[in-house]
């Protein structure tokens, strides 16, 4: 009887626990705390945080329980991550939720979205500098795009063994936008620049909104066909929304579909952070480079905004450059709040959304370009 009891005890998580799993459980709890108590990107941090808890429950290996064991339920759910299915579905929903009218009203703001992608290429060099392999470096660099699904998509294609740390880094920095971006914005701009008011954009017609996804998918995907799984779905979602004849599909895409994909994406990415696989020196390097990528992306957007002002008659608020990263709508909201702190009547939210949506397109193009370099 004691033997049986001892055998049972030796198979419990308490007996099998490793210090790395305990650390990760603690990290999972922090994610849950940030998501629920602080409301930092709760839609992402809650499923990821809970996934970290589930993924780090110690178990007896070899019985098809863990996410890295073939034939386990979690492994099948993780299939959507490793094949890039979930990111594409998330992009479909994202397209159905995005209103490109502010971007169409002021197309020059798209350049800020392009400038913010420079963080990706600086980080590519940084990661190579620190000795990462080229495919790993490209996967780490895409964190600079500040787009979780894009980071997961590219990493799944180039360095699947790094999905866990890269996804966690990307989503963490997205959640930490209110902490990371404002100091950089304030450091790189003068008060005078932060006070610049943006003119109201012109009214955008319905035809323009319908034509945009068609033109954009053709232009972008002819340029970088490898971005098709992301941009194709993004613009399909947007067309469903704007064409006005398939409202049922658009509503489903922007609610049930994206929510389902987000749950499974977040949860399985969280599960993939098994302590023994996740806590490695490489992961620490990825976290460090991820923060560099995100900071450089923010800084390059702001600096490019200042450069544009040298040539423009009608000056733009350089804070908007920080919204060129594709963390929708977090970075636009942060730009808006930073602007409001200087002048409570200066509303930058819609302009920030224009930069944000161009950032989404830009980072997806970057992912396509980086992938195509290794095909």
């Amino acid at each position: 009887m004691f033997d049986l009891f001892y055998q049972f005890l030796s198979n419990t998580g308490y007996f099998l626990a490793d210090y790395r799993q305990i650390i990760m459980v603690f990290v999972g709890c922090i994610f849950l705390y940030l998501g629920t108590a602080k409301k930092y990107e709760p839609l992402l941090l809650v499923p990821i945080g809970f996934g970290i808890l589930v993924g780090n429950v110690p178990f007896f290996k070899g019985f098809g329980i863990g996410i890295y064991e073939s034939n386990s339920v979690l492994h099948y759910l993780y299939f959507g991550v490793t094949t890039g299915v979930y990111p594409s579905i998330v992009f479909l929903g994202l397209g159905a939720m995005t209103d490109f009218s502010s971007l169409l009203a002021q197309p020059k703001l798209m350049l800020l979205g392009a400038a913010a992608q420079m963080g990706i290429y600086f980080t590519l060099l940084g990661a190579l500098f620190f000795g990462f392999l080229p495919k790993e470096a490209a996967s780490i660099a895409i964190i600079g795009g500040a787009d979780g699904p894009t980071s997961i998509f590219l990493t799944a294609k180039l360095a699947p063994h790094l999905i866990g740390p890269i996804a966690i880094a990307a989503y963490s920095y997205m959640a930490l936008i209110p902490v990371i971006q404002p100091p950089i914005m304030r450091l790189l701009t003068t008060r005078q620049e932060r006070l610049i008011r943006m003119p109201a954009g012109r009214e955008v017609s319905r035809q323009e909104l319908i034509i945009f996804p068609v033109v954009a998918v053709l232009l972008c995907c002819f340029l970088a066909p490898t971005a098709l799984p992301l941009l194709g779905m993004l613009f399909l979602g947007n067309f469903l929304k704007e064409c006005g004849v398939v409202n049922r599909l658009a509503n489903t895409a922007q609610s049930a579909i994206i929510d389902t994909a987000t749950i499974f994406l977040g949860f399985t990415v969280g599960c993939s952070t098994q302590g023994d696989v996740f806590l490695t020196p490489k992961s620490l390097g990825i976290f460090f480079l991820g923060s560099v990528a995100f900071s450089i992306a923010t800084a390059s957007g702001v600096i490019f905004g200042k450069i544009m002002n040298l040539f423009l008659k009608e000056k733009i608020n350089p804070l908007l450059g920080a919204a060129g990263v594709s963390a929708v709508p977090g970075s636009a909201r942060e730009v808006h709040l930073t602007g409001l702190k200087e002048d409570p009547t200066n509303f930058l939210l819609m302009h920030g959304m224009a930069c944000n949506s161009s950032g989404v397109i830009g980072s997806a193009i970057c992912a396509g370009i980086l992938w195509s370099f290794f095909i």
Partner: protein, 143 residues
């Protein structure tokens, strides 16, 4: 491998420059195109007005054309026909002859546009000037 050596060995500089250029180029083109979409749409919406204005303009020009004095060239027979018409007349004259003689005969025969026809035959080299105001008939060219 670490450092700049690793960047160079893995073509990192080129990847960064080319990648950044492509994404910039792509978004610049896209922003240019979408900045023109509303102008194209405006033109498209005003197409009826544009075509009506164009039709109106064309009508006015047509009216003007009708009212204006027009110098119309009479329709002459072909070169072959002209030579065959004038050959029997020239045969009645003594070589070399003066153009006025040919003109008088053609008038008598009531031929259409004798002036223009003779001028045409002269330009075509069928009537050859002799330098003293007289002309001869070039049989070779006339054939």
């Amino acid at each position: 491998m670490f450092g700049f050596e690793n960047i160079s060995a893995n073509n990192g500089w080129a990847m960064a420059v080319v990648g950044a250029s492509i994404v910039f180029l792509g978004l610049v083109i896209l922003s240019f195109v979408i900045s023109q979409v509303h102008k194209i749409l405006k033109l498209w919406e005003q197409r009826d007005e544009f075509f009506n204005r164009y039709k109106k303009q064309a009508k006015i020009e047509e009216t003007k054309t009708v009212k204006a004095p027009v110098s119309r060239q009479p329709r002459l027979p072909s070169a072959k026909e002209l030579t065959s018409i004038y050959r029997p007349l020239v045969e009645q004259l003594k070589q070399p002859f003066e153009l006025i003689q040919l003109f008088e005969i053609s008038n008598k025969m009531d031929l259409a546009h004798p002036h223009l026809s003779i001028k045409y035959l002269q330009e075509a080299g069928v009537l050859i000037p002799q330098g003293d105001g007289t002309f001869t008939w070039d049989k070779q060219k006339a054939n």
